[in-house]
Symmetry: C2
Subunit: 180 residues, 2 copies
């Protein structure tokens, strides 16, 4: 069974986090949400409080890691040494790293993805335009790095993750979600 | 300011609930999530625990009410006299009622929407096909009743609600969500 960690930082975007969680769990991927707070409770940018599955730890055993955006979520990801070090491990060990909206800016500013092709929210382009190759598309995949431009493409990002980790499940998941 | 209540019953579909909440809050609609449990915590079908804003009460002051699907969420909505009575008040007083996936089946089985045009999840067609006019579309609007077929169209349902309650906000919300 494939496994993915989802980093929930205070101020994360609720749709950006939950759409991929939903799509991945429907596909049978083991998804574990990790709180960057000292407690499991994390409040989203949309003011919906969510209880994470576990606290952030040095969890290197999964097939991938996912960073939602949302303000101040992506800033809090950027500021977290622990979250950034863990994400770097996944990047450097050819495990999947997915990020959406402001999420890609967190790792871009940390200079982990220099020269790589990404998409991200237009409000965060300035933060990384000198280091990354920004492509004007809703979803961009560059090797083990999957990025999405914003919350409108959260479901699409979920399916891009499935293409990478569990392509055999896509038809079944689409059917359950009534996607034509 | 427009106001919408969102009914969160144990086992609700996380994406179906959160996408419209997100879209509506971005549009400046006052969204209040109501727990059908005895506490604010409600667990979703995707096993993400959410803290609602308030407990369900006889809240008739909003412009609309929204019923997400998800199993066992839509069954728990159907079984709740209080939730069903409140929804009937909104239906009968020409306030907006939105429902998605299994959500429309709850009010259909309660015979609140006889003869009306709806869409809903294929797994729940049998429950209401003798009472409602099921249309094979992702989103259907019939007067004050807005329905969606499943979680794949949760974002679209959010925008259909905006068309009804806050059309002037659509362009701005789409831009923020990077929707082309």
């Amino acid at each position: 069974m494939k496994k993915v960690y989802v980093l929930l930082a205070e101020g994360f975007e609720i749709l950006e986090a939950m759409a991929p969680v939903d799509v991945m769990r429907r596909a049978g991927i083991k998804v574990v949400t990790l709180s960057l707070n000292k407690t499991l409770e994390v409040n989203s940018a949309q003011n919906v409080m969510v209880k994470a599955d576990d606290l952030l730890g040095d969890y290197k055993d999964a097939d991938g890691i996912f960073l939602p955006g949302g303000y101040s979520g992506y800033e809090n990801l950027f500021k977290s040494e622990e979250a950034m070090a863990l994400t770097k491990y996944y990047l450097d060990n050819n495990k999947m790293v997915a990020a959406i909206c402001g999420g890609p800016s967190s790792i871009g500013r940390r200079r982990m993805i220099d020269g790589r092709n990404i998409t991200l929210h237009f409000s965060t382009h300035e933060l990384v335009k000198d280091f990354c190759n920004i492509i004007d598309e809703p979803i961009v995949r560059d090797g083990n790095l999957i990025t999405g431009s914003g919350s409108g493409y959260s479901i699409d990002l979920g399916f891009e993750i499935l293409k990478y980790l569990a392509p055999e499940t896509i038809e079944k998941v689409k059917k359950g979600m009534t996607i034509r």
